[in-house]
Symmetry: C2
Subunit: 245 residues, 2 copies
DNA sequence: GTTAGCTAGTGTAAAAATTACACAAAGCCA
DNA sequence: TGGCTTTGTGTAATTTTTACACTAGCTAAC
């Protein structure tokens, strides 16, 4: 360093958008800030990047420091650099996102964060800084991703039912899907392994449990496989008749 | 400012990947560097972001300063932040890309650049810094974009033939397309206006000229329109027989 | 002015993918 | 045993995609 002391320098951060899925609801992991500005407000887990640290490494480190979550695959989404996005000076931030199985992790907020908690994406209240905008951008990315990669499996527990999988897709795409067509499509990918087990403790016919065929998926990815899921929004007309009661 | 003087700061740049299309070839606009490091080497047009300047504005300004090109729509692609990507210190760069009609612009390199010139994407020699990687990322983005938006029109002159359009798609997708199916698909979008004119000065049957229906396209975009172009690679088997001569 | 050479322009049939749609089966519980 | 709830399944109609080959129209060379 030293050569660049004369050049324009800015503070530089990463912000992580971690999605999970629980109780039929798409969630995002937030921290309650323990520092000014926005002390006590909910925000995305993010912090400064060290000068000698790769961007991707910083995202992983910051996530662990603020929430206790480690060992996840983070994907870069977009960089936000509006001049006034931070009240204390010029701060440019790179947004990363990830999909995790909520049940696999225990949340442990570090000193800088007062608290770390899952929040329903559909109902999050205003966040600190421009984090609403960042969250929105990552949600759009997720929506796109769900159509080109079977991301569902990354959010569900190891064993899941087809109905759970469908609900996940519906939550992400914010639409309803046809049960039979959804199953046909999913099963035709040949990426699900029937575990020959059924749900327990439900007050109705128990559903079959499946797991994701990780091995086959990796092979398909190599071959440049692209998963397509498109389905028109159903029953728009019928729903309107409910409103008019 | 001032509050953040204690925090980790890095130098911060933008790099622009400007694509054009000419003589059946996909091109990228490069400058020859007039500064160390990589003095005299070809590189993407990029430079520092001012402290009081939005990221997107910086990309536009830097592009104009280095190449004379202004008034283009730049889209953010990805941020590159490996620790050692710049020999003189920590420099994080945001890559932007754009598609322009080569004939609409005159290239005028500024003092910092020795030269600015279009280079064929397929044959660019090694570039300064990690610019090969950045170019590759933007090319991948373009490949993706071409399937979901009729970007072709942004690269061609106002009047073009269907064959020119097809060659452009083939150059971007690095594949061959079936003439009849391509035309059927493109015309079915109903975004082309037949100009009732034909090519001049060609030594064969002249092709009809079309222009792009900008107005209709904007309307379709609002409705959440998504253009799909998929076509299998043709004639793989037949080509192999050539090799075996 | 005839012809050779080149690219433009066009249709159809087969296959594949998508969509819409309704009821019997299985387990739990009262 | 019957009622409740959710699971699990097939088919026909429609749309989209794919593969494929010859005539039309112009220039240039002879």
């Amino acid at each position: 360093m030293g050569h660049f002391d004369n050049f324009f320098k800015s503070a530089f951060t990463v912000d992580n958008v971690i999605f999970g899925f629980d109780e039929g609801d798409l969630k995002v992991l937030l921290i309650r800030r323990g520092e000014e500005p926005y002390h006590g407000k909910w925000a995305l887990p993010g912090y400064f990047v060290y000068p000698n640290e790769d961007l991707d490494d910083a995202a992983i480190r910051v996530l662990e420091e603020l929430t206790g979550i480690n060992n996840v695959y983070l994907e870069q989404v977009q960089t936000f650099g509006a001049v006034n996005r931070h009240a204390f000076g010029r701060v440019i931030t790179v947004a990363y996102f990830s999909l995790i199985k909520i049940s696999n992790y225990t949340i442990q907020p570090a000193s800088i964060a007062l608290q770390a908690q899952w929040h329903s994406v559909a109902t999050v209240s205003p966040l600190a800084f421009d984090h609403d905008e960042i969250l929105h951008a990552c949600f759009m990315r997720l929506k796109w991703l769900v159509r080109s990669r079977p991301v569902g499996f990354e959010l569900l527990p190891p064993k899941f039912t087809l109905t759970e999988l469908q609900h996940l897709y519906e939550a992400i795409l914010e639409t309803e899907l046809d049960k039979r067509n959804f199953r046909k499509k999913i099963l035709s990918m040949d990426l699900l392994i029937d575990l020959n087990e059924t749900q327990e403790g439900v007050a109705h016919r128990p559903a079959k449990l499946y797991k994701f065929d990780q091995k086959k998926y990796q092979e398909l990815l190599k071959e440049g496989f692209s998963f397509e899921l498109k389905e028109s929004r159903k029953k728009e007309v019928k729903k309107r008749s409910n409103n008019s009661v």
